[in-house]
Symmetry: C2
Subunit: 93 residues, 2 copies
């Protein structure tokens, strides 16, 4: 799935709800999921780890949509040609 | 770009470096970028906002790679059929 398609999918599922809630309240959900991912990493909780990565990405994506940021466009702009600082692949910084 | 291709791109640029650094030290970079995104959101800093979203996604992705998690697979598993709780699009929870 393209990153843009994933952003559109999350927009279809949660866009109205999250825009209605607003940036700050949506950020609180994102932060909660970052916490859950942190715990799964710390505990080596393999059962929940994959799902927590999915949740953090979903909340990051919906925050980007609220702010009108196209994630696929911005990651390609920054990382599409290699490390943005040394311009090498792999990074040689 | 497919989400899987983005993960592979970040793996090629930073995989060796980030695995060498290890999960905890890599997490510190991720957390720093979450902080920078938070500040850009709070300040309505449109100049840096897009880049901070890109950085958080890149560090989340490299953490997933360190743990052997395929982001595209896990987001499709969880969100591919709509809201994982009410199964509706849009979410009706």
């Amino acid at each position: 799935m393209r990153l843009r398609e994933f952003q559109e999918l999350i927009e279809r599922i949660y866009g109205d709800k999250d825009r209605g809630r607003g940036q700050e309240k949506t950020y609180m959900w994102f932060a909660e999921e970052v916490g859950e991912l942190t715990r799964a990493l710390r505990r080596d909780d393999e059962e929940n780890l994959a799902e927590e990565f999915a949740d953090v990405l979903a909340w990051l994506t919906t925050l980007a949509s609220i702010r009108g940021v196209d994630l696929e466009e911005v990651v390609l702009q920054k990382y599409g040609a290699g490390c943005p600082y040394c311009e090498a692949v792999p990074c040689a910084c």
